[in-house]
């Protein structure tokens, strides 16, 4: 597509040149042919790499569809394809409760992050108060502190109040994300001020402007922060691994990490477990593809 548009845009100039000098035309077509060939090679190389990237997942799926006994042959062919491995995941692991735990903790974290982060951002962006700069810098420090360096004190904190093995222990330390405040602030800063001035004339409070004007206009920011927090919480292993030891409360990654060795040489069962563990997030990706990609491009959010 890009080459086509380039060519049509270039052509008027090329036409005028063709009239001026016929030898130019020959060089031009030779050049076009080289570009075309180059683009073909690009496409070929890229398809090759894309297939290579899909290979591990394809192989996992192939393995999961075999009976366990067949997995000792390194071949793509399946003599007796079966969904048995997928069925056994549900009878032999707590996959369904892992799903539930992951869903509850991730959704709750995303909700708390979006609500508290956007409210704080609104105050920093739109309201006047003393010590605003202090508050700004105080929150900025948080961007510098990676959650991983806090695991020891956080663990003692939750241990001291007897909150280990609760979903709150998973949610609370992951919810206050300084970066979310800054993403929302940046977004609010870009909204036209005339809108809230008009609302102020009608006597609307700050909270009301936040609720009825700022938030409805900030859907892209809400989507980016919400989806990212959700995915990030869902995939986090280290922190939930520390605070969740009750198998019924484990999230998907913690569950998978704990049962990892249990299947032994039953490779079909292991792969079925892995694929079912990945399924919800692949669905999230397919549903929110555009938001996720735009969110990364706009904010550079990373786990």
């Amino acid at each position: 597509m890009s080459t086509q548009s380039t060519r049509t845009l270039v052509s008027p100039r090329a036409v005028s040149r063709r009239e001026a000098a016929p030898t130019e035309t020959a060089r031009k077509t030779e050049y076009d042919r080289r570009v075309k060939l180059f683009n073909r090679i690009c496409l070929g190389v890229l398809i090759g790499f894309a297939l290579l990237w899909l290979l591990p997942i394809a192989w996992a799926l192939d393995t999961a569809l075999k009976p366990n006994a067949e997995t000792t042959q390194v071949t793509w062919a399946i003599d007796n394809p079966t969904l048995g491995a997928f069925a056994r995941v549900f009878t032999e692991t707590d996959m369904l409760s892992w799903y539930a735990a992951s869903f509850i903790t991730s959704a709750l974290t995303a909700l708390v992050t979006v609500v508290t982060g956007s409210m704080a951002a609104f105050a920093l962006s739109r309201m006047k108060f003393r010590y605003k700069n202090v508050a700004f810098w105080f929150i900025l420090i948080g961007i510098m502190i990676p959650g991983q360096v806090l695991i020891v004190p956080q663990f003692r904190e939750f241990d001291a109040v007897n909150m280990l093995n609760t979903f709150w222990a998973v949610v609370l330390p992951q919810a206050p994300t300084a970066i979310a405040v800054f993403i929302f602030k940046q977004f609010f800063d870009g909204l036209p001020r005339e809108l809230d001035d008009a609302a102020k004339v009608e006597g609307a409070s700050g909270m009301r402007i936040y609720r009825t004007i700022a938030m409805p206009l900030s859907r892209p920011a809400v989507a980016a922060v919400g989806i990212f927090t959700f995915v990030h919480t869902w995939n986090n292993l280290l922190w939930p691994l520390l605070v969740l030891s009750n198998p019924k409360l484990m999230t998907v990654p913690v569950g998978l990490a704990t049962v990892q060795g249990n299947f032994g040489i039953r490779y079909a069962d292991t792969m079925a477990t892995a694929l079912l563990g990945a399924l919800p997030l692949v669905a999230v990706y397919l549903l929110f593809q555009r938001h996720i990609v735009r969110g990364i491009a706009g904010t550079g959010l990373k786990g």
Binding site: Q154, L237, L256, A257
Partner: protein
């Protein structure tokens, strides 16, 4: 501030004089409070508490802080072989993953941008692994690396290459984890580069092609220089993400064989939660934090410089 007509500013001022909630500090405090309370309780508080713990011989199994150790924990860490080797493993992992994750992501994005067609497919192929939990990635790659039964060994054998014992050989375990990580996280950098490429105006390429510049020349003199900022961003996010590695090692090698892949975060985990040495683990965390801080500061310096040039 920027109301259109003067007639409109008058009532605004009236409202604020009669105490518009927007002007009152209490309203702002209410808006800030939920975040700040969580932030103080679960981020700033633990950060200070962690610093405090690092100065004591605190144990996980005994209550209280234990006896005051001063800088003893730090001295012990800096004199400990285990600390330095886990720091080195983390750096080694960062060195193995960062260049390929930048170069490959750049090349793939460049190709996808040039090809133009079927972008959704390439994004799916390269980015989908990034949203999969690390535990799933680990299970799939353990299977791919399994001696005797793994697909990679069979694939290499097809070309007549004898595969190493990927995760079992201390020399190969880290490169194996790096390969897995490259497969897993490349998509993130790919998307960042793809966005950077879309910001380059097409007229530049058109002008260059009218001047007869070939594709390779265009890439060298237009694309690479204009993506400088994206590259800085990708590089720093990548270095920080790689330094924080834990999951892959924990699940795939448990830090082995013979501790050859124990990362700094796993060292914290082992000391704090297996050996119950909370004070010491906090000191190691703090040292790790300093490393990350240094990387961030270097990043800020580079970005400042780039902005001055631009």
């Amino acid at each position: 501030m920027t109301t259109a007509t003067p007639t409109r500013t008058a009532p605004v001022r009236n409202v604020s004089r009669t105490g518009s909630p927007d002007e009152s500090p209490r309203a702002a405090a209410w808006m800030l409070a939920p975040f700040v309370i969580l932030y103080v309780l679960f981020i700033i508080g633990p950060a200070i508490y962690g610093l405090l713990l690092s100065l004591f011989d605190t144990s996980l199994v005994r209550g209280g802080l234990g006896s005051f150790a001063g800088l003893g924990n730090y001295q012990e860490a800096l004199a400990s072989n285990d600390f330095w080797s886990s720091l080195w493993h983390t750096l080694w992992f960062t060195i193995l993953t960062t260049p390929p994750l930048i170069v490959l992501a750049f090349v793939f994005a460049l190709l996808a941008d040039r090809v133009g067609r079927a972008r959704w497919f390439f994004r799916l192929a390269f980015f989908a692994p990034f949203v999969i939990p690390s535990a799933v990635v680990a299970l799939i790659w353990i299977w791919l690396y399994t001696p005797g039964l793994g697909l990679i060994e069979a694939g290499l054998g097809w070309f007549g290459i004898t595969a190493p014992n990927w995760l079992g050989d201390p020399a190969w375990a880290m490169p194996s984890l790096a390969i897995t990580t490259i497969w897993w996280t490349l998509g993130f950098n790919f998307v960042l580069y793809l966005a950077g490429l879309q910001d380059i105006p097409h007229e530049l390429y058109e002008a260059a092609s009218v001047d007869g510049a070939g594709p390779w020349q265009q890439i060298r003199s237009i694309t690479i220089p204009l993506l400088g900022r994206t590259t800085t961003l990708v590089a720093v996010l990548q270095v920080i993400a790689s330094l924080k590695v834990f999951d892959q090692m924990y699940i795939m090698t448990a830090g082995g064989p013979n501790f050859a892949t124990r990362s700094i975060l796993q060292y914290v985990y082992d000391e704090g939660f297996t050996n119950f040495r909370v004070g010491y683990a906090s000191a190691v965390s703090t040292l790790f934090f300093v490393v990350i801080l240094v990387v961030s500061v270097i990043w800020f310096a580079i970005v400042r410089k780039q902005e001055k040039v631009a």
